[in-house]
Every structure is written in C-alpha cells, then in structure tokens.
Symmetry: none
Subunit: 194 residues, 4 copies
DNA sequence: AATGAATGAGATTTCATTCAT
DNA sequence: GATGAATGAAATCTCATTCAT
C-alpha cells in the first residue's frame, strides 16, 4: 500500500466522520462523502467494501482513540482522585466538544442505538474485546484502592462510564465536580492508603 | 372517535413499539406494522400521518409512561433512600426488561441518537417540556434533603438519569445496590433530618 | 326519485363544480366533495357511479347552461352587431367571472386538455351532438347575413368560439370592443340588408 | 457536461414529449418514459429532479421553439398580410400536426388548463417573461401598420393568439384563409403605407 | 487507480372504491 | 339511505453498488 493510498483512506474516514457527526447514518450518503473528498463515488469503494464497512471503521478508530487516551491517563498511576479528575477533564475538554461523540455517546456502554442490525452487529463484534480489555485495566486500577469491599468493581466501572457519558452530553460547567464529589464521597471511605 | 378506532390506534402503536424495539427505524417497514396488525398498509395511514408520526407518538407515549411511574414514586414522599431504591427497582424490574427502552435508553438524557433529523427534531420539540417538568420535580424533591450544599442539584439529577440508564442497560444483579451505596455515601453527609 | 334525493344530487354537483374550478381533476378528492356537502364519502357513490362520472355530469351541465344562454340570445333574432354584442357581453359578464369556465375554457373548441383519457372520451361522446346542434344554429344565423360569400361559415363559427374563449380568459376591459370591430370590419362588407 | 449526457437528456425529453402528447400528465408514468428510452427509472432522475421538473422543461422547450419560429417570421419584416400568412401557414403546417401542441394549445393564451397546481405555477413562473417579450415584439410589429388608431394592440395580439390556437385545433383546410380575410378586412382600413 | 452513468429493488404514501353495519 | 373504516394497487423517488471506460 502506497503512501498516497494510505492518505486517501485517512481522508475519506476523516470526512465521513465529520458527516456522521452531523447526521443519521441513513442521511449520510456515500456520494456526500465522495463529494467532500473531491473524488468520485466509485473511489470510496476502492478503499472500503461498503458504506457500513466505512462507518464501522470510523467508529472503531474513534473508540480506539478514546481508549488510548484513557489508558495513557491510567498509566500515569496517580492517586484515584487525580486520575478521575484527569479522565473527567478529558471528557469535558475533548469528548464533549466532539459532535461525533456527543451523537454516539454511550458507545462504551454496550453499543445499541438506532443502527441497522448489520452495522450494530459488526460493531459489537469488533469493539467487544477492546472494551473488555479496557474494562479489566480499569477494574484492576480501582482494585488498587479497595480491599475487602462490598462494592462490585465491575458495576463501579459501568457506572463510571455512564457518568462519563453524562459529562460528555451535559453542558453544565459544574457537572464534573458534582460527579467527582459524588463518587469520592463514598469511595473515600474505602480507599486504601496507597 | 369511536371505541373501535381507539382500539385500532392502540393496537397499531403496540405492534409498532414491538418492532421498533427489535430494529432500526429504517428497518421497520410500515408494511411490517400493518402485517402484524393484520390490516392493510393504508389502514396505518388512517391513524397516523406518516411513519415518523407513528414513531414519535409511540416514543412520547413510552416516555410519558416512565415519567408517570417515576412521578408516582416521588409522590409517595418516602425518605431519600427508599425513594431511590424504588426508582432503581422500577428501572431494574420494568425498564431493563423492555427491549424498546434498552434500545432507546438515554432518552431522558437529552435525546440525540442516530435518528433522521426530522424525527429527532419532532421528538425534541414534543418531549422537551415534559422532561423539564419532571426534572423540576426531582430537583425539588432532592432539595428537601439538602440545604446550603455545594452540590448542584441539576447536575445531580442529570447524573441520576445516567445511572438509571446504566441500570437499565446492565445485566448485573448488583448494579442497583452499587449505585445506591455510591450515591448515598456522599449524600448522607448532607442529608437533613426530615 | 324523491325530492330529497334530487336536492342531494344537485348539492353534490354544485360543490364538486366549485372544487373543480379551483384545482386539477386529480387534486380534487372525492372525500373533499363529500366533506363540503357534509356527507360521508360513500354517499357520493349513491348518486354517482364514479368520480369521473361526477366530473362529466358537472361538465355537461355547465356546457348545457352556456348553450342554452347562447340559444336565448340567438332566438331574440336581433341584427348581427347586436347579437354579437350580446354574446360578447354574456361572456364578459358571466363566463369570465366563473372560475370553472376560465379553467375549462375552450371546451367548445373541441375538448382536449390534460384529462384522463377515460374522462376526455366520455366528455367528447356526451357533448359532441349538443355542440354540433348549436354550431348548426349559429351557422344558420350567420347565413342570414351573407349570401354567395367566399367565407366559410363553419370556420367563422370556429373562430368566433376562439374569440369568445379569449374574451373569457382576458382581463382586458376593451377586448370585447376590439373583437367586435375586428369582426364587423370584414363582415359589414358582406352583410345583407335583412 | 459531456456529449453523452447531453444526448441522454435530449432523448428523455423527446420521449417524454411524445408520451405527454398522447396522455394526461398523470397517465404518463416515469417508468413509461424510462421504458421508451430503454433505461432504468433511476436514470430519468439523474437528469431531472422530478416528474414535474421533466414536464415543465419539456413544456418550456416546446414553447421556446414556437416563440423562436414566430420571431424568425417577424424578423423577415414583410408587410402585414405576408407576415400573418406566414404565421398562419406555420401553425397549419407545424403546430396543427403536432399532437403535443394540439393537446396543450392555448398555452400562449395565459396558461391554465387542468394541471397540478405545482406544475401550473412552475410553468407560469417560467414562461411568463418569455411570452411577454414576444407579446411586446408583436405589438411593436403591429404598431408599424397603424397610427392614431382606436384598436387596442394588446387585445389584438391576444385575439391573434386565440385565432392561432383555433387554426391549430381545427381540421378545416380553409380556416387559415377565413381568419386572414377576417382580420385584414378591418386592419386594412388603418394600415399605413409602409 | 479513478470515474460517474446506470441500475433496480424497494420504501413511503395516496385515494377511488367497497361493503358491513 | 347513509356511513366511514378498510382496502390494495400503483406511483414517485432514493441511493448503495457496479462496471465499462
């Protein structure tokens, strides 16, 4: 694969992402994507098998991007408060501003939404293991702060994701702090001294 | 409007709801709905202006149903723990079991999702005030338990909704308890003696 | 046929005529006609075989009305100038003001227009003889004023009709006079003293 | 726009014109047009926005064709008798033989007819100025032959058009001459020596 | 590699007509 | 006589995908 063709691929995904951020899957036409890239419709099909293939690849790329960023934050190995704060900041600063994520928010939460069954299935299959890996890492991370605790860590992870989605969807400037004090209130009690 | 026609209307909405619970808006054909009701396609159009009209009415009816149920729980005027427990139970027992809600969950959270712009706009317009009313009632309710507190009640409402969606989407049997202990841990500190 | 049913029939035709005056044949729905009459759709079918039957009967009635009026004018047996003047006045005063005629003007001229073939054929069949009768009467009338003349009286009749249509469709206040002086200029030369 | 696509466009318009000449607007199906052109239905929609768009373009093209031809005749700058004779010949030889014009004849006369409101409005908007331009040219032309005359030239134009329509709709072989002698009888009186 | 004209299955929607009540 | 719910054939229009150039 030449440099040129790699660049073309990326360009198509980038323009497609912008369009999917604004409209329903069915409202984005392959011809719209092609037009934005100033190529012919047929060209899109040289790089992607189908419209749903294009959508799924864009989707995975986007999720992977978030997963990577979260992982980086976890990797810093700060204390719980700082780590949560960093993640919340990340969601407020990056995810909330991204129309694509605002539209597809909740993706972490087990993808469903109003997608063609074919697309939904492809996505579920594709991102399941990636999400699961992140889940395990986060659970491990949380495990560092708790011991012999009655709280279910996997539930906690899931609720955390829900709260992240809320942060990304809300326009409130204080929601981040509210979420933090909500979570840390309870968690503090069980926190180990690291 | 005759009894007969009211029944037909309800029947169509009921069958449509079942189908929308299983598939993308675009995958549900008006002819599918008609077939399920054992009537001709045209009959659906006697009762609804268009497919999107049908969808929106089903959607509003469903949301209204949840809103009513939540309102009933708030009306019991129990203490905070009991009220939250009741709401969580309701979500676990009713919403989680309902494929329609699992698919369209997050509706409370400010509707977005992957819907045709026309449908999304109709829905936003239709449910905005209803949701807002409920929000105010919940905020009032929460206000009874707190005073001079730094927590933003509207944020809290929003996070609560996020958590409810998480409960509805999760299959965990313990998530309800985890959520309760998460919230009450912090809130307890600020609770007034009622 | 009872009085009651005759009145109903007339009412339906009257309302249908009003609607056909405003809209395309295909834009007028049977249900519109029924609604205007405050009866059910089925009732229209008690009085007319079909929508096209209704249209054709209204059409024939309207044409017959004009034919009768023209005949009355011819019957007065005035001189040519006065007769033409009377007919022109009639077109200006009555036909021009009637939206139905303005829309379907030119009907005398051999009906064509943009009508469903079925409707067009029914109309041609129904009005042919009536129009022909009038044509003969007018030709006879004109014949009284000319003898041994090179002008073809049937052509003259046809041109006269075209001019009537023009009067009915124009909004000009002088067109009647212009038409009269145009026609009489030539005709005067050949006029017999009656 | 390639040669190929220009040819396709013309082909579709040509076949559509033939069909509209034979049937009601509503009786001509887009699929009929496509079949005649031996292309798929979708292809028609590559070249025209809608069925009504196709109709209107065909209509305008046809009117423009007549307007051009009339203009050429006026441009020869012959005397009035010769010019009228040329125009009448043109209507007898060309327009009368054309089923499309026989059906839609009277278009010059202020478009009305039995058309879907949408189509009628589009047409009125589109051809109004073109017709008006021609009207002015004809009025100017007629003005050359008259001075200080009581006849309204715009009325005369309008009656002339009505007569042309009559020529186009009649099957008489003598109507042209009858019309000519009718008109020239009066006009001769007022003609200037040019 | 790139094009874009052509395809054609299939969706929503309309409405004259019927018929059980 | 009157009703109006139900029908269902049929029309317009869309767009992902293909393929000859």
């Amino acid at each position: 694969m030449t440099d040129q063709s790699v660049r073309r691929r990326e360009q198509i995904m980038k323009e497609a992402r912008k369009l999917f951020a604004k409209k329903d899957y069915h409202e984005v036409k392959v011809s719209d994507v092609a037009k934005k890239c100033r190529v012919a419709k047929g060209t899109v099909y040289l790089y992607f098998d189908s419209k749903s293939d294009l959508f799924v690849r864009v989707f995975i790329q986007s999720i992977d991007h978030i997963i990577q960023d979260i992982r980086k934050i976890l990797f810093l190995d700060n204390d719980l408060r700082t780590t949560l704060m960093n993640i919340f900041d990340y969601y407020e600063d990056s995810v909330r501003k991204d129309d694509y994520f605002r539209r597809f928010g909740g993706m972490h939460q087990g993808f469903s939404g109003n997608f063609p069954t074919k697309v939904a299935n492809k996505i579920k299959k594709s991102i399941f293991s990636r999400i699961e890996d992140l889940e395990n890492e986060v659970v491990d991370f949380l495990g560092n702060y708790f011991s012999g605790i009655e709280i279910n860590l996997r539930d906690l992870y899931f609720l955390l994701v829900a709260i992240l989605v809320a942060i990304a969807k809300s326009d409130s400037e204080t929601i981040k702090d509210t979420a933090l004090s909500l979570i840390l209130g309870e968690l503090n009690k069980h926190m180990l001294n690291k």
